[in-house]
Symmetry: D2
Subunit: 332 residues, 4 copies
């Protein structure tokens, strides 16, 4: 499968490196507007066509699929053009700037019988695969909450706020591992520097008293990547910054043992062993791109398709509305 | 100064132990409704009068001051009775169940020329004293945010939710170290077991774009006590679970260096050394009770007086209202 | 059982507090040469006889057992006198200053049918009990090594070096959890301040290629309390400074899969889950003193008896000899 | 400068990648005996000559310098042949299998006026550069000890034991940052699997009571890379596994304040702030190779030259002798 890649900034080089090393795929052309980045690309890949003009990539007859690794506000136009030119598309998260764009692209791909995959890389990590498996097996029992903290210093984006930058990771993971869909969203936050929120908090109300929360921050002196998932039977901590033991499952819980009257109400605690399962040690992006090649080859729809991308954009859109109204409840 | 202590459950023994060891104070009587706790008290303090009846403590002529270390819903009645009997009062946080009660008690104390101190113990820790000093000196520059996570497994309270149980710590610290007062509050959360919220999140909007956030949770498998404070010049992390190095100051920041047009907007990062100041190694509760004795002796109003307690109750009340409306903005 | 306690400095107050709270035991008298410590003891325990003269405790007819919580160089004299006066003895580690003293005391106790317990407190912690159980069950397979690091800033002792101060913890644990006895010892170290070694390292050769190592240091800026135990089937890490998850068992190992020739020699790694068992949450010293009372009452010999104390002193003596010869191998 | 690289196993690809990206250097040929590794090299670098025969690299007229990235036992032969063919040599640590080989190579390079650089990569990390600077400035005062722990699971080497595999890192760092040279060495250890020691401990006696210790282990379930350096004025902890804050300087110390008699001997502790300096964020290997190119171009002798490599081999040889005699003191 011949790839064209649009964007060789922060993430693009990883896409290219993985596509180059993958069996059955090669990179034919890279488009990038920054001259310095073009020079780096040319040095690393002397045999690949490097251009400043994305349309050269999009219209090239030699190219089967396009990876769109450019700023969010360009996703819609570039993906649309690629689809119109008969290319399958691998596109960065968040999929688009709004739901209307996402829906249009999904329809277009369907008409053309082309694949869209949204780069929700985390879904391909050993950690998320293990968490997904544990939740599917019911290892945690009925879920109580999902609480993620994702903070660090920068990188500031010019065109989007911190929610659109960092929360797609959490929203795509939640969308993948939790069974239900959120019913309503509350978001709060504040911008301090360039008009976009750099600190934001998001609460998602799910059915059956499941509550989710996301804390994202571009102004934290320390990097934190921690998710707590609480269930009736067990609880889980995922610390993505741990070299080993990223996922820990605690045989801990709380139970109401007696409901006869306020004073007799007894909450009993269960505290047991902790267990940290070994995780698959594979580069997530490599797995994801390999899956993309496979889906395109077999005409299969990937689970992280345009619809998955759309659901994340819907949540972001609702959160943006709530944010602008300082925490107003927005139904999905 | 002769003390009576009401409540010898979880926290009461610490109050008694400190009062007993303090120069210039002694404990005359302890009231406690649980028989087992009374037996433990009598074994540890054979010379102290132990009773099941709080009114014996409150009306005792030998007693100068009463420490109210009982459940929140009893604070108002017990404090009121103690003040009416001419006793100074040291009362657990949160001060009262609502603002009306707090205001009435403040007025009563003023009329009687008696002191109220609300047990905001954290204000007397080496960590908070150092943070307060750093903020007073402007070490962080203009503040951006204050973000606290305070989660662990239990202890479930029967009469209050997790916000009223855990957030008073953060609210009293914020009230003490931040200059402004919050203008509005958004709170979200969910209860899973006994009708009270066991997971809750709170955003406080302060003047001048300062935003605060509190994450409290009774259902976390791991204990977390971490506060991030971000400022224009420096940023601070307080991890209260660290044995040493609880407070770290990062010489890190973000600056907009050019505002001429969207594409030229440059956010520059400053990344420098980290510094962890040595903290005073004193038991906070001992310091606080010593300060109480001193304030009562000198007729001085403590900074953690009834008004400080009232401000915390006001924020909790607003948060409760927002919580019940699923995140509605509530002005203070 | 009526106790007399000799020494109310750093550790003595913990002994007294536990004995006071224990069912079936009471403290009759405390001897302490420091006047300030005597005053603190009298304030905390108004009904206990406080004296500067240890012989008053040793000869008191009302006393059944004596706890010797004084400097090492006094252990022999005090324990001997107590035994001669018919008292059972609970004595701090290390048992004595040399093996001859230990042997004499063991014989004396045997003649008098009295119990000696050496305060190897760590053996009563939840962590060591769990480790002992795991090794007994063969959970780690054949052992490879035991490696302990026990470093911190101070407390400097005047009469002993860092090996005699800190290594008894590790030596008593090894003696308890490892099956074999060490055959030979190598110790190195250096003193920088008062003539006693403040940094020392000790290697113990056990039968069957088991090797043990202890790193002790009074001059470390950070406190470390970590022990690694490696076995053929599993490996274990005990970090005593962790609040929870002190003991972690790793399903990791190394295996030689082929021995046919140097180049075909294959070492295969097995890497699996990690598991942290819940530990008993009891105060070790309370357990130990309770066990002492029980052993004395029933005339049973405790496992941490004089002979266990002697074995630790033998290892310390051998280490001292090796240390003075800069690492010479000393056989036991 | 045209490079030939011998060895494309674990470390070779990093050497090649850095040489390729470096200004003023290019890789002409790679020799590697493993066919799979050759295929990977060819795929990644289609324009580089890939061969199974190291002599093709060594004798190539187009090549100015050879990087020897092969097993230790091949270093001497390959380096000698390269020097004889007029090539400068960048060679992996440890330099050679014994001191005689190292001395011969140093002499040969001197005769031919060629450069040897031994790949002591750690000397080029931000952490070691900062530590070196701090020690040079006397920030720690008179040194007391240097204590390194370097343990993890594998990688087992077939031709050398764990000391020769892991200790060269520590020995080269010590050699670089400490002023004195060790006078004597004691080493202990044990092999459990393939005849080579997989667990080993090494004590180095330096002049003026400075003592160093190295703990290396191929059988540890957890990876540890921690070095403590204690001085009279300050103490330092270097944890190389920390993402940030790898180096921490503690304003802590111990002082003898009074030497008049045993009982009056007072050790006073000083405990102050901790400070973690920002480190340079550069890839060490890139810096080192750039320095090699510069040294060769300017005819300058690098500080990590053959003599530095020889000093490390001398210490390893002495340690091996001590190890075989179970801790006998070996003078250097």
């Amino acid at each position: 499968m011949n790839f064209g890649v649009i964007g060789y900034g922060y993430w693009g080089p990883n896409i290219v490196r993985n596509l180059v090393n993958l069996e059955g795929s090669q990179v034919i052309a890279i488009a990038e507007i920054n001259a310095g980045a073009r020079a780096r690309a040319q040095k690393a890949y002397p045999n690949v066509k490097i251009t400043a003009d994305a349309s050269e990539v999009i219209t090239s007859a030699a190219i089967d699929a396009v990876a769109v690794v450019s700023p969010v506000w360009t996703h819609y136009e570039l993906t649309k053009a690629a689809l119109q030119n008969g290319k399958h598309v691998f596109v960065e998260k968040p999929f688009t700037s709004n739901t209307a764009q996402a829906e249009e692209l999904i329809n277009l791909a369907q008409q053309k019988n082309l694949r869209i995959m949204v780069d929700h890389t985390f879904l391909f990590t050993g950690a998320v695969r293990k968490i997904c498996q544990l939740l599917d097996e019911g290892a945690l029992g009925n879920l109580y909450y999902y609480d993620s903290t994702r903070v660090n210093l920068g990188l500031f984006q010019h065109d989007i706020n911190v929610l659109w930058d960092l929360a797609p990771h959490d929203l795509s993971i939640m969308d993948h591992v939790l069974k239900g869909r959120p019913e309503a969203i509350v978001a709060t936050g504040q911008g301090h520097l360039n008009g976009h929120e750099d600190v934001a908090f998001m609460t998602l109300y799910f059915p059956e008293k499941v509550i989710a929360h996301i804390n994202v921050n571009w102004l934290s002196p320390v990097k934190v990547r921690t998710t707590l998932i609480g269930g009736e039977k067990r609880m889980l901590v995922w610390n993505d910054l741990e070299a080993d033991e990223k996922v820990k499952i605690y045989d801990k819980g709380v139970k109401i043992t007696n409901r006869e009257g306020l004073y007799e109400l007894l909450v009993s605690y269960r505290s047991g062993d902790m267990w940290s399962p070994q995780l698959e040690q594979v580069e997530a992006l490599r797995q994801e791109l390999s899956y993309f090649v496979e889906c395109v080859s077999n005409g299969r729809e990937p689970f992280n398709d345009g619809c998955a991308g759309l659901r994340v954009v819907q949540m972001l859109e609702a959160a943006s509305e709530s944010l602008s109204k300082r925490g107003a409840l927005v139904y999905l």
